[in-house]
């Protein structure tokens, strides 16, 4: 059984059918790409997968569980995490605390324990700190732990977003234009990071990206959206040579 099965997914905003009849099938451990011209509905698909938008049609099955239309927090607990096209870190909080928020449902204790400062509170907090620092180390951010997230340089902010998303212990990680605004060497480094994350955490990754060399070099399967519909799907080779894809990108 596939990790994520999306069938006939669609959403209409008023009279505008933003996404229509989208089917996706992601196998455990795979690296998938979602591409398409601007306004094709890629981020809308992400928003439906993470519960930000309620689909008007279709089903989303994660690991055998139907999560269609569930609230974002529930979907996060079910195992989908994401990053954002425009970085959305908690800017006024430290780098370490950003990751700790990601650990919200991983390391738990009651409010009561916290107020009375009972021993489990200190244990759990220590555990949380350990896990968060571990994640920061993976992304080379351990020396920035005490910094405000908004003070980090752009590339590090992107990394921190991935670290924060991984803290929620996802089965599926959605990356929304992770390479946006990066120079070629940073993009190269990011490719390594994404591959590493997949190997190290054994998770499935679906990413939206406009940088074609990035997507083609990284993803095993690519789905192409245009005007909210899938126009092509397959290996990078197949997609690259598909006349419909070429037409969508070049016009015609």
């Amino acid at each position: 059984m596939a990790l994520l099965e999306v069938s006939n997914l669609g959403i209409a905003f008023g009279g505008l059918q933003a996404v229509d009849k989208v089917d996706l099938r992601l196998e455990q451990g795979g690296l998938y790409g979602l591409i398409g011209p601007n306004g094709a509905g890629k981020t809308t698909v992400f928003n439906m997968l993470t519960g930000v938008y309620k689909p008007t049609e279709g089903d989303i099955i994660l690991d055998g569980k139907n999560i269609t239309g569930k609230p974002p927090a529930t979907i996060s607990k079910a195992g989908i995490a994401r990053t954002f096209q425009n970085i959305r870190l908690f800017g006024g909080m430290t780098v370490l605390d950003n990751v700790k928020v990601g650990l919200h449902n991983q390391v738990k204790y009651s409010t009561f324990t916290a107020v009375l400062r009972l021993p489990p509170f200190f244990e759990r907090e220590r555990e949380m700190r350990g896990q968060a620092m571990g994640l920061l180390k993976i992304f080379g951010l351990e020396n920035d732990a005490k910094q405000m997230a908004s003070n980090l340089p752009y590339g590090k902010q992107r990394k921190l977003e991935i670290a924060r998303a991984l803290a929620t212990n996802p089965k599926l990680l959605l990356l929304d234009e992770p390479a946006a605004g990066m120079n070629p060497s940073e993009t190269e480094e990011l490719m390594e990071t994404v591959r590493f994350v997949r190997e190290h955490f054994g998770i499935t990754i679906l990413l939206i990206e406009h940088d074609m060399s990035f997507v083609m070099g990284l993803c095993e399967q690519i789905t192409v959206l245009d005007y909210g519909r899938i126009i092509a799907a397959g290996t990078p080779e197949m997609v690259r040579n598909d006349p419909k894809v070429i037409a969508a990108y070049l016009g015609g």
Binding site: T50, P72, A73, S76, A81, F90, K100, V101, H104, T111
Partner: protein
């Protein structure tokens, strides 16, 4: 010596404002709404302490804890019934609802307890402190109020910055959507905020009525509004701002009563609000809001 005595009274009054302002500022920071019913929760807290302590004869500390419990429940009920259905509604709708809840609480109190003022017995049973050969007298109420305020500030700062729930509160106040996607239960977090704010309002009610022992259904509205001014003064949404704003406002009010005019003191307090809004709209410790274009 006179001046120091006024100053201490001011800090004591300001401590009460600060505790109330915390409720405003936390709710604003997290739910982005002004809970104008907050002042009336103070009044309910006052009546609860009165019932438990004077009518039922329970010890002061037990009465306050019970009043805190009642107000916590009240805060949660208000949030769930009145504000939650309006999540995502325009802020004006929420504001008007808050004013409605405020009048509802006042009139319910009028219905239940009547319009005759109840004379409150102080929850503090402590000899005044005499310093400088009896020239400087600090009442037990002042000492307890300032002490409680310090404990609340320290406790709350630790809670917000060092615990899992506190971090969730900060995350929600930064970016509700992103917090949700990290698995934070936004409704639960907002409810917790209301619960904490209302519990603090009960404490403020007990302290306020101990220093000014007259309890009426409208008791909470003026301190509520002044605490709101304090929250704006300090920078609404900022917890240290509420503390600073509250204490400064208490000092300004007391000193203007002492040296300028008793009648004009409230006018002066509200002028402070206007001047702050003109000079620094985000308050003393408020964050600069950068508009995205």
């Amino acid at each position: 010596m006179q001046f120091i005595s006024y100053l201490i009274n001011g800090i004591s009054l300001g401590s009460v404002y600060a505790i109330i302002a915390l409720g405003y500022t936390m709710v604003y920071g997290i739910a982005k709404m002004l809970n104008f019913a907050h002042g009336d929760v103070i009044m309910v807290g006052g009546y609860m302490v009165f019932i438990f302590m004077v009518n039922l004869g329970l010890p002061a500390i037990v009465s306050i804890v019970l009043a805190m419990a009642v107000c916590t429940v009240l805060g949660i009920v208000i949030e769930t019934v009145a504000y939650r259905p309006l999540r995502g509604a325009p802020s004006l709708a929420v504001l008007i609802t808050a004013i409605g809840v405020s009048y509802l609480l006042q009139n319910l109190a009028l219905l239940i307890w009547g319009s005759t003022p109840k004379s409150f017995t102080s929850v503090v049973n402590m000899e005044p402190l005499r310093l400088a050969g009896g020239q400087l007298v600090i009442t037990g109420e002042s000492i307890v109020t300032i002490g409680v305020c310090i404990v609340v500030m320290v406790g709350l700062s630790l809670f917000i910055n060092r615990t899992r729930m506190g971090r969730a509160m900060l995350a929600v106040s930064e970016d509700k959507g992103a917090a949700q996607l990290m698995g934070v239960n936004v409704n639960g977090t907002i409810m917790l905020t209301f619960a904490i704010g209302s519990a603090l309002a009960a404490v403020a009610g007990a302290l306020l009525c101990s220093s000014y022992p007259m309890l009426l259904p409208t008791t909470g509205s003026m301190p509520g509004i002044k605490a709101f001014v304090a929250a704006v003064f300090g920078g609404i949404g900022s917890v240290p701002g509420a503390m600073l704003g509250g204490i400064l406002l208490g000092i300004i009010e007391t000193l203007s009563k002492a040296y300028i005019s008793t009648q004009l003191s409230d006018a002066i307090v509200f002028s402070v609000l206007i001047i702050v809004l003109l000079v620094k709209p985000t308050g003393i410790l408020g964050k600069k809001i950068s508009e995205k274009v």
